[in-house]
Amino acid sequence: MDLSYTAEEEEFRAELRHWLGDVLPSLPSRPSPDDWPGRRAYDMGWQRMLYDAGYADVHWDASPTLRLIFLEETEKAGAPYVGAGFVGLLHAGPTIAAEGTPEQRARWLPPILRGDEVWCQGFSEPDAGSDLAALRTRAWRDGDDYVVSGSKIWTSHAEVADWCELLVRTDAAAPKHRGITWLAMPMDAPGITVRPLKTLVGSAEFAEVFLDEVRVPVGNRVGDENDGWRVTMVTLSFERGTAFVGEVVACRRVLRELAAEARKNGRWDDPALRRRLGGLNAEFRALWRLTQWNVSEAEARGGGPGVGGSVFKLRYSQARQELYDAAAEVLGEGALDLGAPWVVDRLSSLSYTIAAGTSQIQRNIVAERILGLPKGR
């Protein structure tokens, strides 16, 4: 068991730290959460800066350890997070890198890395959420195209996306996990209507997407026709296994800020609150160690993240909500003021036990796929 880094890894860290120290002070301030075009421009601008500095491919080309160092250092320095680049960089891109043809990789990966193109995820439907394989959006072949009709829901970043990783049913007669296909759909194709949905935070974070005979070239299919469920499992393993890793570092930063605020406003004298923050310190330290353990394991195996991602996601989504509940206790009545720091984050944290597979579904996965308990009838 070794937690030290090699000379090259330390060199990477030092260079990155140096670079961050140079560029972060001159970044413009972040646009408001509701300014989608502004957010897109900001997030993609940051990705472009990473690209020009040679850091863009760290999400799927570099070794898992370098990626961990990247996330640790950028979060510690308070650099922008992936934002609108989330789907492209953290799960659509890695899926294409793992499952796509050389042409597909050449077409889609460089623009993601350069910050030119934004992706969204069209998996969920009104009647297919947890039961994702029940999806009904249909696609049929017409010459060199698939023609797609149906609707998707909760599609994050749909308003500003160029591409959508889309799940469609290509064989209605097959058992439900079998007749599914994974497509890359251009969001400017005729027949697509995006209707923004307001979240409980008050911003239009996600949307409903209506598809009316949208034509998608057959060449945009990743994996075989009707083999989309397998490709989807690859996507979800990235989404659950690695996409939240950097946020743990951010949570540790927030925890220190909370302690500092509590000392300033006198709440620190309350032993119950102190102990609660101490307990959260233990929690996020442990989650960081679990991350290091998982990364080392993936590196040793030479593969992508496995179902172990569900273990991490279950605990992390819960811990994040507890962190912001503790923030509310530090703030007192200030926690009712949307203008106070952490309050919007507290609202956002409510989605973590739902999005990317609910905690109930993650528990089923851990119990059935790791512990080998039987499926219920």
């Binding site: 068991m1 890894e9 307990g279 330290r285 993650q362």
Partner: protein, 301 residues
Amino acid sequence: MRFQLTEDQRALRAAVRGVVGRWSGAGSWGLVAQFPAPLNGTAQTGDSQFRLDRGLWRALGELGFFSLRLAEADGGAGLGLPEAVLAFEEAGRALVPGPLVATHLAAGVVLGADTGEVVVAAADGRLVEWMDEADVVLPGAEGAVPLRSVDPLTPLHRVPAPAPTDTVAVLLTAAEQLGTATRACELAVQHARAREQFGQPIGAFQAVKHLCAEQLVRVEVARAAVYAAAVTEDPADIAAARLLADEAAVRGARDCLQVHGGMGFTWESEVHLLLKRAWVRAQRGGGRTESEELLAAELTA
């Protein structure tokens, strides 16, 4: 960074598992079950019904369990805390009774502790475990009075002045808790697969399945924390490891008991022993409050 077990560490774990496995077989649990339950009126205050197994103690000594961290020149193996943690995890998994931590820490200090010839008990907080069975009690146990220990395999005395906390003891205790938590999860899953109700294994019911899944999550988080603390030896990491490991063991044993239903509530099943031992260990090293306060202070350091 290679935060995984090395080949040598795996081999060490397997060797310890082999030795303690001989103890933890059905026969040894049966030994406990044969004793009259303490509330039957037969047990005397402070009287251990259970004798410490000196044969096991010597076998552990031969294996190097106590001398693991002594320098080779002093007859030890010259290994570090990570290896000690793996050994204690196995002991916790097998629920080995006895003052393991105290004897391990006394190796090189008390003659014969390293080889398992001498059993050393020590005051930790306000409690001394196995005082009457030990050959040496550190730092002495003036005024100790016996308790009727909740754990039939850990006789306890209470001392008037609290002994200071030793961080290595806290970490080794966390490792034992991790092992017990792992065992509780294994037992629960085994039972959930085998026991049928309503025409199917109870493990097919989500309410049961989710209890087991949460057990595993707590075990894996605790494991990462305990192993990392053994590598860094950082006091805050050790405090974190103890909190996560206590949680994994105590809640894990409770959930295991729940999954076993009525059988879990009997004196004959081993499940209650896991929970009672986890409770005893959770009192060591100043308990939860001390660790949480240490971690709170670290946030503003």
